[in-house]
């Protein structure tokens, strides 16, 4: 059998089974996971709440801004409109109206009359200025038939304007709309006022050609709207732009459709995020301007509008991620603070389990783990002492046992000696107790003395037979006077011996049977017929001496 390795204590090293932990079982990763989950859930909730709010707040802000811009422009347009209307009304005051009516109702007025009134128109035109621009580009008057009789611009006199868009509304006294005159790519708009006399009714119409440059200048003004923000007007007529748009490739005469434009042209004001006519996502405020038969739009691209808030959101998210990372790292350090001492403890315990009792756990912290380390160390120390004590005791016991063993061995030796003496004695007795004496010439006498155990009996038989062979007696006399007890076994042995003797041609004779033995043998039913029994030895000798 092989020699088992042993440790310092002399005890055999046991195979220690320490299970390998999968990462998800390890405490340190569980702690990290916990921190991770906690951090992410918390931050996630915070982000879910704050980010959309930031978005909506930014949106609201932009809409407010756009709305105020739209309102501003609308007011500008209204003021300009009212101003123009007021200027026209101002022109048509007595006594001018009278003169006008007179000329208009005449079938063929004189050129002087006409020229005089034309001059008034020209003066009015020259005086109606706002800032750097004239309010009107022309003032003229036409008959109910549409024939221009008077005009500040002589080019227009003589024309018939029945087919023009403003004619019908001027006759019906309904609202005017902007229109594109034939042959011109620029928008026109005319404010008209009927010239009325109590006698003749409507004798003619005075028209003021509005300077549409104002409109463009209002709308094109883009301060405060950033890089992509703009305001523009879209006409209900074919959804054409009335004022230019910033966007590349947006001609005035191209239908512009978007949620903002179409809703406003349907008469509804509002603010929404939608895709503009060029499919750019914008935040837009839209208003319906009935006086111009157009929609007013104030838009800014969503990309620009949300640029700041996007940056803020990104920063927010970035900060959250950084915090998450820091938390994870901290979590890992914190976890390590737990798991490392535990691992050290495990390692030391393993060593100790393997038998190395000198190892101790370093006490590194002033907390529960430190206490555990201290306790563990004291336990190890205890173990060591206990073991030492045990060893000592064992040694002592062993020594005792050794002594006892030696004693025993001594006793054994003594016993052994006495046993051999005894055996010797027994052999001597045996020898002494079973002599085979030749008597006469042809007789052997065997006086048996003592207990007859089968072994002795065997020996005797063997000796007897050997002597018979040597001495050739006629008779063998067995004297059992000295045998205290004869049991069945002995009786049988005697019988067997007698039979053997007989076979060898020797007459076996049994003498010395005591009365108690005779009783026992009879009760046993022993058949000793083979043997000749005599009362005693003398008798037997005498009897068979002569044979």
């Amino acid at each position: 059998m092989g020699h088992k390795p042993s440790n310092a204590a002399g005890l055999p090293k046991s195979k220690l089974y320490i299970p390998q932990l999968a990462p998800f079982q390890q405490m340190r990763w569980r702690l990290v996971l916990f921190v991770l989950l906690f951090v992410f859930v918390t931050l996630g909730v915070i982000e879910l709440i704050t980010l959309p709010r930031m978005q909506t707040q930014a949106e609201e802000q932009i809409f407010k801004q756009l709305d105020s811009v739209a309102k501003l422009k609308q007011d500008q347009i209204t003021i300009w409109f009212n101003n123009s209307q007021a200027s026209l009304n101002l022109l048509l005051t007595e006594p001018f109206i009278e003169k006008l009516a007179q000329v208009l109702s005449t079938s063929s007025p004189s050129s002087e009359q006409q020229e005089a009134l034309n001059k008034v128109f020209r003066n009015a035109l020259a005086s109606a200025w706002v800032g750097e621009q004239p309010l009107f580009t022309n003032l003229f008057a036409y008959t109910p038939n549409g024939y221009i009789l008077l005009s500040a611009d002589p080019m227009q006199t003589g024309k018939n304007i029945r087919r023009y868009a403003y004619y019908r509304p001027s006759i019906e006294n309904s609202a005017q709309k902007p229109y594109y005159p034939l042959g011109s790519a620029t928008l026109s708009m005319v404010l008209t006022k009927q010239v009325y006399t109590p006698d003749h009714g409507v004798v003619g119409i005075v028209a003021a050609q509005l300077n549409m440059e104002f409109l463009s200048s209002f709308m094109v003004q883009r301060s405060g709207l950033g890089d992509t923000g703009e305001t523009y007007l879209v006409s209900r007529e074919s959804n054409y732009l009335l004022t230019p748009s910033r966007a590349e490739g947006s001609p005035l005469t191209q239908a512009c459709h978007s949620i903002g434009v179409d809703t406003a042209l349907a008469g509804e004001n509002g603010a929404k995020s939608y895709a503009d006519c060029h499919t750019t996502p914008v935040l837009g405020v839209y208003r319906w301007l009935p006086s111009l038969n157009a929609a007013l739009l104030a838009e800014i691209s969503q990309a620009e509008a949300f640029k700041e808030v996007s940056a803020a959101q990104s920063m927010n998210l970035g900060a959250a991620l950084v915090i998450a990372l820091v938390a994870i790292v901290m979590g890992m350090f914190f976890a390590a603070g737990f798991t490392r001492p535990i691992q050290t403890l495990t390692m030391v315990a393993t060593r100790i389990a393997q038998g190395d009792l000198e190892h101790r756990v370093p006490v590194q912290s002033n907390d529960e783990l430190g206490i555990l380390a201290i306790t563990f160390n004291s336990m190890a120390e205890q173990l060591k002492q206990m073991l030492q004590e045990l060893e000592q005791r064992v040694a002592a016991r062993t020594m005792d046992l050794q002594q006892a063993l030696e004693q025993r061995e001594q006793t054994l030796a003594d016993l052994q000696a006495s046993l051999s003496v005894r055996e010797q004695l027994s052999a001597t007795i045996r020898m002494l107790s079973s002599p085979i004496l030749p008597v006469g010439k042809h007789m052997l006498v065997v006086p048996l003395i003592g207990v007859l155990d089968p072994e002795r009996a065997g020996l005797i038989t063997h000796e007897i037979l050997h002597r018979i062979e040597v001495d050739h007696p006629h008779t063998l006399i067995i004297d059992v006077t000295g045998v205290p007890l004869i049991d069945n076994q002995i009786a049988m042995t005697l019988v067997e011996t007698a039979q053997a003797t007989r076979l060898l041609g020797v007459q076996p004779v049994l003498v010395g049977i005591r009365p108690d033995i005779a009783q026992t043998m009879v009760s046993l039913g022993v058949d000793l017929s083979i043997l000749d029994t005599q009362a005693d030895l003398q008798t037997a000798i005498v009897r068979y001496e002569k044979v």
Binding site: M155, K177, P181, L182
Partner: protein, 343 residues
Amino acid sequence: MQSPLDTRLHQARFLRLALVLVFCCLANACGTVTPAAQAPTLTPLALQLAWMPTAEYAPFYVAQQQGYYKAEQIDMTFLPRGEQPATELVAAGKAQFGIASADRILLARDAGQPLVAIATLYQRCPIVYISLAERNITKPQDLIGKIVEVDTSGTTGIVYRAFLKSQEIKPEQVTMRVQPDVTNDALRLVNGEVDVIDGFFNAQPLQVTQMGKQTNLIFVSDYGIDIYPNTIFTTESMIKEHPDQVTQFLRATLKGIDAAIANPEAAAESVIAVDKTQNLGVEQQTMQLALPMFKPTGSVVGMMTDENWRLTYQMLVDQQMLKNPIAVNTAYDLSFLKVIYGT
């Protein structure tokens, strides 16, 4: 090395797959055959044009290319300008629809051709008297003593006479030259051969500008003369026997006009798609200028007025061009427009 059993298995699998594929192909082929057989047939209709492909006809090309005619179950064909006027060809049955000016319709009716106008492309008359800017010919009276080249063959001739009459200019006060050919009039103006030419304001002036000269225009429509230059007409029998086809055709055409107005640049491109010899830039400009004619402020596309027809008729009567008096309202029918607009 495959065992015989494996080989058999593979063969069986392959055979199954092949069968499935063949079956699929057959089913597919059958599938594609049947729908065609079940598709409703398109009505073949033809429109006789009166001029070469130009922005004026862009609505038709747009409608064709956008599939508006197909959506109305019409297989539309545009017949190019022929030797004979469109009115003759349609009356002869070569096409169901045609383009002609309002005066031509009236004259055709006078000649016994039962033609009826159902809508118009231009709602204003684009005829102008064009002169080089430096000549300062800005008012009708400025024509007196000038050489004016007039295309007397058609509407422009009628317009010229009516114009002079309305402005109280006697014909002899103006040196009128009959237009020898239709292509070089702008050239003759720039050369100085003539002082004034007539034409459409969105056509010849562009040619002159291309030659580097500025123009002055006198619009006849500014002076009360407004003939529809390009009405869409059909025959009385079409209206009687196939009014639904007329409505469908007109609906698709009006849709085409609206689409052309919504995107004039694409409309110009649709003309180039039909005739690559045309110049995209010119067509775009022509289209831009035509917009107020296709849809004047306050009107809807295709619309005609009784007043305009009446005035046109009056012009013909004044110039004694009609043999017999005509009931004007038989020459045009606004009912199809009304049906489409739901008025």
